[in-house]
């Protein structure tokens, strides 16, 4: 007969407030098989674990049930404690009487009854637990970083510094990401390129880092420690080795109607182009849609003028397959598009621009060489209006429900830069709340108001109309309760930011969880912010949620440390709750093999001894290293031969019986 120990946790008052823990412990004592039951204030504490270990030794417990918080929280803690007392860790079951009971039911009578029911279910299941031993799988000592912005670069540099190989895959022709488009950065106002380019060069020249630009992830398979990724290196049509980056081809190229993505479409670029001066690699790319040679077969001027003969029209996409131990997502963000926000007249008034476009306008390498001029008539604006929260904090389907976090700071930055360079320009910022928390952030914003005389008006902008040669901004002044219509020569919209477009595609490829706003979901919002719940996948930068550059760099470093923690291991313990096939009852129909997402099931002819009769049968085999324990095969198998250790048919049926 099993000797089960049941430990009911108070969790301080989290459970004890609405669940009578003593009565739960008392009522399970009568269940056959329960040899010991007690409640304790904090089971996960040292004291709690010692109580359990002592009970295991004193009562010779063969099974343990802990009624406490979610297994996703402390299952590992209690398993380790049991193992230290000599009990196989997989003979421990958790009844979730906190998140699923005490926290969601207010009535003590009702919550206690439910806690008892959940305890009974866990006891019924634990009776059928079998001792399991984790297998081992090797760890490939190489990391993959998807995304070459500041987040990806910082993570890659930190991993490479620790001596491990890292591959960066960047979709655009050059690393640098959104940061390379910025002019100055807050709160110190240093020039973005000045602090970014050294990191780009360091990454490009680091012997442990390989950079794939103008490349995308085609396919990812495998699991933690044993990922295999296929990288599609899109054809640049230019030889990276021979090209010296002189730029003559871009000058001479006749096709100049494509809009420059780097400059947010504010100026055109030639079909063969280097996105920006400090691009790394400093090698152009032929945009085949706009290249006359590719579209019509004529032209070919770039090949003629190229002193190094580096143009290679016949270059093809190249697929590179590579094994990795860990993958870091650093896919960054994009501003949302203004199509659904007609009231701001963004599409019709050239002088209504987004903040990222404003960055390009004020950037010395930008389309206007840094001169702040109106896009409509090229004149210097006399007054500029900045509008906060355009699409952010919007619970309707038009916008994003969340606060994009960085706009208040860069609005203040923009306002200060304008007033510093052109003190005579009137600058007004319309806001709902100015959110500038953090080290020296609020001082930064107040400097804009107190030293530079930027006018901050609490009230949202409702509509922007054209009037003669300038714009009319219709806003409200919530404090005074008045309606305003402010003339302005230029309006800058602080648009909401959203994750990069291919985030969801990557999430499916990596089976990383992703939320309804397309941000990758972290394993735990407070305790594990840089890891995805999927083992071996890590999150760096805005792909996990809106954040500014300081936080991105901090989180990028944290992600790198998590990767190092993984790569430093030679062996990884694998999940022992995997499928297993009962050779006696397997009919060899291999329905299981058809539903296995990991290709972990194969078939083999075996001599099976059935009631003394030896028969040669086709039997399904589970490769325990590949199996991740989803259980699809157990339901596809009609005869029940395929079962899942840790969640077997009998165990789940026992839980159902105990509950109903």
């Amino acid at each position: 007969m099993q000797k089960i120990g049941v430990f009911v946790c108070w969790c301080g008052s989290n459970i004890a407030a609405t669940v009578d823990v003593a009565r739960v412990a008392e009522s399970v004592k009568s269940i056959p098989g329960v040899a010991f039951a007690a409640d304790y204030r904090y089971m996960c504490s040292e004291g709690g674990q010692e109580l359990m270990q002592k009970a295991i030794k004193d009562y010779g417990l063969s099974r343990v049930v802990v009624c406490s918080c979610s297994p996703r929280m402390h299952e590992a803690t209690f398993r380790k404690a049991a193992q230290a007392a000599g009990l196989n860790p997989y003979l421990v079951e958790i009844a979730n009487i906190r998140e699923h009971c005490s926290w969601v039911h207010k009535d003590k009578e009702v919550a206690t009854a439910k806690a008892i029911a959940l305890a009974k279910a866990a006891i019924a299941k634990v009776k059928l637990n079998t001792p399991l031993v984790s297998g081992e799988s090797a760890v490939v000592k190489r990391a993959l970083v998807i995304g070459g912005g500041i987040a990806g670069l910082q993570t890659a540099l930190d991993i490479a510094e620790a001596g491990y190989k890292v591959d960066i895959v960047e979709k655009t022709p050059s690393i640098g990401g959104k940061m390379s488009q910025l002019d100055k950065t807050f709160p110190t106002l240093d020039c973005s390129a000045c602090i970014l380019t050294p990191k780009m060069v360091e990454a490009a020249t680091h012997e442990n880092i390989t950079i794939y630009t103008y490349s995308e992830i085609e396919k990812v398979s495998g699991y933690v420690g044993q990922f295999e990724a296929v990288i599609r290196k899109k054809a640049r049509s230019v030889s990276v080795d021979r090209c010296s980056g002189c730029g003559i081809c871009s000058e001479k190229c006749p096709s100049k109607k494509a809009k420059s993505e780097f400059d947010q479409g504010l100026r055109n670029r030639s079909a063969i182009y280097i996105p920006f001066a400090q691009a790394i690699p400093n090698v152009p790319v032929i945009d085949r849609e706009n290249c006359l040679k590719f579209q019509t077969g004529k032209c070919g001027i770039c090949a003629k003028v190229c002193p190094a003969g580096a143009i290679e029209y016949e270059q093809e996409d190249e697929l590179v397959t590579q094994k990795y131990g860990a993958i870091v997502l650093a896919t960054g963000f994009e501003p949302i598009d203004m199509a659904k926000f007609g009231e701001f007249n963004y599409e019709y008034c050239p002088d209504v621009i987004t903040s990222l476009e404003f960055e390009r306008l004020t950037n010395a390498a930008g389309p206007t060489q840094g001169h702040l001029v109106r896009l409509s008539d090229g004149k210097k604006p006399k007054s500029i209006v900045f509008v906060s929260c355009v699409g952010s904090r919007d619970t309707t389907e038009r916008g994003k429900t969340y606060c994009s976090k960085i706009c208040c700071m860069y609005n203040a930055k923009h306002a200060m830069l304008v007033k510093e360079k052109y003190p005579d320009i009137d600058v007004q910022v319309f806001y709902i709340d100015v959110r500038t928390p953090g080290k020296s952030f609020d001082e930064f914003y107040r400097r804009a108001v107190e030293e530079y005389g930027v006018q901050y008006t609490k009230g949202m902008v409702g509509k922007i109309t054209e009037e003669g040669d300038h714009l009319l901004v219709h806003a409200s002044d919530v404090a005074s309760g008045a309606q305003l219509s402010v003339p302005a020569d230029m309006v800058v919209l602080a648009t909401a930011i959203k994750p990069a477009a291919d985030a969801r595609k990557l999430a499916t490829m990596l089976t990383a969880s992703i939320d309804t706003n397309d941000f990758f979901t972290e394993a735990h919002p407070k305790l594990r912010p840089v890891e995805s719940p999927t083992a071996g996948i890590f999150l760096s930068g805005v792909c996990q949620g809106p954040k500014d550059i300081p936080e991105t760099v901090a989180q990028a470093g944290a992600a790198a440390v998590k990767v190092l923690g993984l790569l430093s291991k030679d062996k990884l313990l694998t999940n022992p709750c995997v499928a297993t096939c009962n050779e006696q009852t397997c009919s060899g129909c291999l329905a299981c093999e058809k539903v296995c997402p990991y290709g972990a099931i194969s078939a083999e002819y075996k001599l099976v001894n059935v009631k003394g009769l030896k028969e040669r049968r086709l039997i399904a085999q589970v490769n325990e290293a590949l199996c991740q324990g989803c259980g699809a095969c157990t339901v596809a198998c009609p005869s029940g031969a395929m079962d899942l250790k840790g969640f077997s048919n009998k165990q789940i049926m026992a839980e159902v019986d105990a509950i109903c």
Partner: protein, 326 residues
Amino acid sequence: MQKIEQLIKEKARDLLAAGQVTSVIAWQKGEMFYDNAPGYFDNTEELDALVYNAFCAANLSKYLIANTKKDEKTAVFLKPCDTYSLNQLIKDRRVQREQVLVIGIPCAGMVDINKVKAQGLKGIIGITEDGDNLTVETAYGTKQVARAEVLLNKCLACKGSAYAVSDETIGEPMAVKHAPYDRFAVVKELESLSPQERFAFWQEELSKCIRCNACRDICPACSCEQCLFDNPESPLAGKANNNSAEEQLFHIIRAYHVAGRCTDCGECSRVCPQGIRLDLLNRKFIKDINEFYGDYQAGADADTNAPLLSFDVDDVEPGAATKGRE
């Protein structure tokens, strides 16, 4: 079909004599003329017991499972509808294709003796076929009966004279003449009833079940080495007649297991001693699969993936998909 029987006997004789196969599976006389049983013939002498007439409804494909375990070659005579079941068994790897010589034989639709009796005929001695009619000899004289009126239910849903799989064929394909028939008619009718009426219907039907397992043993899609309900280790194997799931839900679970693999050969309803309309459960699943995931005929070939073992990214959502008046 007399002519066909003769051809079958000759074929079997040649195959056995030439040693091309070690045994032949066909039908043999049963106790009553209308009760022919499946038969193994492994030498030519036994062949005169071989019959092929209007009462050979049994689907022989399931008998190949045991044979193909022994490394012998077996010949089997299959009607067009039986060949679908063989394809399904091959797909489920229960039958090794290369160890079977499949000979397709035509069928004009098998007769249901109860329907003949239901025409008020008593003391039937024998039935012979001529064209579209049957001459029934009884102790009180002979009577002509139109074959189309006394066909087995399963033959009303005949899948046509084409063979889903065959190495050779004998005779010319025959058409099964019967009134137009929608195999889902009763399913649709049941779906239109209220939940209470539907529940009453099924309570009535399933209460007749005496758990003889005839339906499971005849079903070519139910081909597990050891059935879930016979395996003491399985949580469902409660043979005792108490409230175990097995008693109450045997038929639903079995229908679920064969969903997407049932070729609608109708044998389960034919062999059920209590006459339970088990085919309705299977046809409900087939109708749903056709509606939700596109027409699918199990056994039409031996390689397309079964509907429940594949998926489509934009399948219909479960809630939206149920029919019937609520």
